[in-house]
């Protein structure tokens, strides 16, 4: 039976009428038109459909929207707040971390959760955090480099915001 759902997606309230058994992935893509969230298996195995729910990475193919009512859902479309790319997006684009790009929305969101919790992760910590997100194109190398570059830049921005030496982030260039 269709259910009337009120969700918060990318900071905005949205109302949806959808069958209760429809997954969050399906509701995001099919009912809300947010096709930035992709799917690779729809069985919770590949990490492609990852979104953040209250800041935590969640496999949207395994979650029912009814469980997320009252929580903040963040998809890749919400990552570029007010049209400005998130430093992760910027770094992924600059370093060629997105080849086919299909797994990238899920990886960006998983990485955001990591950096929010641990702003200066080691490479091994990044590997650990991304171990559930499969990518078949990149061999992960450029993805790891891009997360590191974004972390550096975000740290620089924070220092700048705190009145520190803001020039450092800009000086990172392509990180190469």
């Amino acid at each position: 039976m269709p259910e009337f759902l009120t969700l918060r997606v990318n900071g905005e309230p949205v109302q949806v009428i959808a069958p209760v058994h429809k997954t969050l992935l399906e509701v995001l893509r099919e009912d809300l038109g947010l096709t930035g969230t992709k799917h690779g298996c729809e069985l919770g195995e590949c990490g492609t459909c990852t979104v953040l729910v209250d800041g935590e990475p969640v496999l949207s193919c395994l979650v029912l929207p009814v469980e997320c009512q009252g929580q903040e859902i963040l998809t890749v479309e919400g990552l570029a707040a007010s049209g400005r790319l998130h430093p992760l997006q910027q770094a992924f684009a600059e370093l060629g971390a997105a080849q086919c790009g299909y797994c990238i929305p899920g990886i960006l969101l998983t990485s955001k959760a990591l950096l929010d919790a641990s702003p200066q992760p080691t490479r091994d910590e990044i590997r650990e955090a991304l171990a559930g997100n499969l990518c078949r194109c990149t061999g992960y190398t450029k993805i790891l480099e891009a997360v590191e570059l974004a972390a550096l830049r975000m740290a620089g921005e924070e220092r700048a915001a705190a009145g520190g030496l803001g020039a450092r982030a800009a000086g990172q260039g392509g990180g190469r």
């Binding site: 492609t48 998809t75 086919c100 061999g139 992960y140």
Partner: protein
Amino acid sequence: MSPKEELAVIGKPLPKVDAWEKVAGDTRFADDLFLPRMAYAKILRSCHPHALIKRIETSRARALPGVYAVITGADFPPVKFGIMPTSQDEEVLCTEKVRFVGDPVAAVAAVDEETAERATELIDVEYEVLPTIMSIEQALAQEKVRIHEYGDGPNIHKAVSLEFGDVEEAFRQAHLVREDVFYFEGNTHLPMEQHAAVARWGPDGKLTLWSSTQTPHYVHRAMAKVLGLPMSHVRVIATPNGGGFGGKSDPFSHEMVVARFAQLTGRPVKCTLTREEVFYCHRGRHPVLMWVKTGVTKTGEILGMHFRSWLDGGAYGSYGVASTYYTGVLQTSTYKVPVYKFEGMRVFTNKPPCGPKRGHGTPQPRYALECHLDKIAADLGLDPVELRRRQLVDEFSMTANHLTITTCGLGECIDKVVEASGWRDKFRKLPPGRGVGFAASAYITGAGLPIYWNKMPHSGVIVKIDRGGGVTVFCGSTDIGQGSDSVLAYVVAEVLGIAPEDIRVVTGDTDLTPVDLGSYSSRVTIMTGNAAKEAAEKLQGLLFDAAAKKLDVPPSALEARARRIFVRDDPDKGMSFPDAAQLAEAAYGTLAAAGSYTPPMRGGKFKGSGVGPTPAYSYSACVVEVAVDPETGEVRPVEIWIAHDVGRAINPLLVEGQVEGSIYMGLGEALMEEQVFRKGLHKIPSMLEYKSPTTLETPEIRTVLVETLDPEGPFGAKESGQGPLLPVIPAIANAVYDAVGVRVDEVPITPEKVLKGLDLRAQGKEPRVGPERVPAARFPEPIRVPLPGEDSTLEAQATIYRRAIHRREGPRS
């Protein structure tokens, strides 16, 4: 060729032109298309590996509320299709017989996927089950059970035999003759995006198909054939591919199913395969059994080689004829093999059809050859790197099987990885359980011939300049993530002196773009790059002519750079690019130009010579360091060093990405990935159970790019998307031997196999795990081809070399 420092765009680590939309989640893949009134299709697939279809009853499915249409093979003209003209053996929906679990039988279009799925369960199919053939040995042993009625023998799709010089004589003269047997299990592409297609039948009676395909032109041809439509009424749009790796290179049943449904229902229709279906549609790496015999001198120089391969092709032809040849042709393109014989055979089995996966038919023999050479080095007490290093093919030479080598940076690649990895301090010197392995390889930069015989260009590009200076590039190529759209923009930007971001690229649309044959055989950069360069140079000529008149200088005095056209020796004298464009349009009319590219015809004059020739070969050398756990048998790659001769890195960032991705994919094939079956059913058709490397299994990859500026490539570029996969697998196998003294002559190198080898070693037996024997040879009489230089081709060959050397030294760009 312009010196590197003179180039403004080529060689720079720029973002891809589609990078921004990809990181923003804006890229529209096929399944992201939602059209008004759209219906959803599901395909009922055979649950038997081999059976006759006695009856299909669809009335219960038709009666289900929400179902728009149900179709079977009877709803299509009785026409078969397939990618190769000689292997037209597939039906959209099987009419008489199914040949593997997953063969399409019927299809439903309904209001949603769930209803369509439910309706497929209401279709009653009565089968008469047939005996199954599940291995190469069974295929060759069964005379009576026949999967297909065509081919080179019972269940033999293709059998080939070619001999270049007298190998038996070479073996008689050899100091050492060694034979080895290897097996490479099949594996699959596993693109993150499942295949999807959307069809729309317009009120004008014309069809539009959006599909995640690597080969829109070949799909275009197949669609027209199967649906009985003129090609001019079929438009195929290749959506950005969410990974391909060769798995989206065939025309597929679901593409034709949605088209027919769109016609029948008057609605747009979408079909997205489930992950399980993707495993069954497959077209991936062939399982190959291989036997190799090589005669060498005391110092390891190869005198002659004889190679046999048996390919398990699965249920249909696909690219299999080409795959068969590819298991034999490139053995000669890395080290000098003066005399060579190849026999290959592809059999049909009741498994998902195999086809091209990254490296197409060459990773298997490369694994066999590089392990075989390691064993020869050990027999002779030589360093395996030295054994290879001293007999590399010469630049601008011809191999025994008539392949023309242009540039070859393999020597430099070897030196670079040997140094970076610390090979000399590690080989045979690391503590037990640790080891290093080496291997090298070559790969084609685009096939010399198209899939179907024709004399037209392989790639076409149209470039158009707008009055504001904006430039649009049209090309039939398909971006599967490798960056082919970006390559078009970089090349045109370089020639016209503008920035890649000033260029819009329109690709993979059979209505809008000139034909490019597709993203396969590592052909895209060289072919679209050369075509784009030609088109852009024509426009540059018009712009320079118009600007020269205005500036009162000869056109040859001008240069285009930084969005300006100016006098080279007086840079202040010039004009903006848009101003030049307007002058040129006023003088010559609408500014558009076409460029096209056809590879040089270089194959020998014998049957089978069409596979292997290419404008240029890329080269790779690889060292892998592994740690092997003697308790569990687990092989952990510690670090991988690779050097790749890419000719010229059009964008080093993207080339590195291709190399790293290739290494990763080879690593998965070497250690864990395999397509395995039980009674015709895939044992592990899921991303959880089909193990592929995660961030935790992928080690640090150290990439070195080597540039040789090949005269054939645009700005000297060769391929990078497939070749670097090849050496990884044998390098890992060789490293395992260095670590624990066990030879695993069968891929993947699983912990079970390593433990078995360690057990054998502990028992004092030969520590080798792998196939023991090969089937009795039933190859045709070989076609005996004179070696280059043994006949009148000598003079022609000399001309080729002279031309090649001339081009390199006095380049055409």
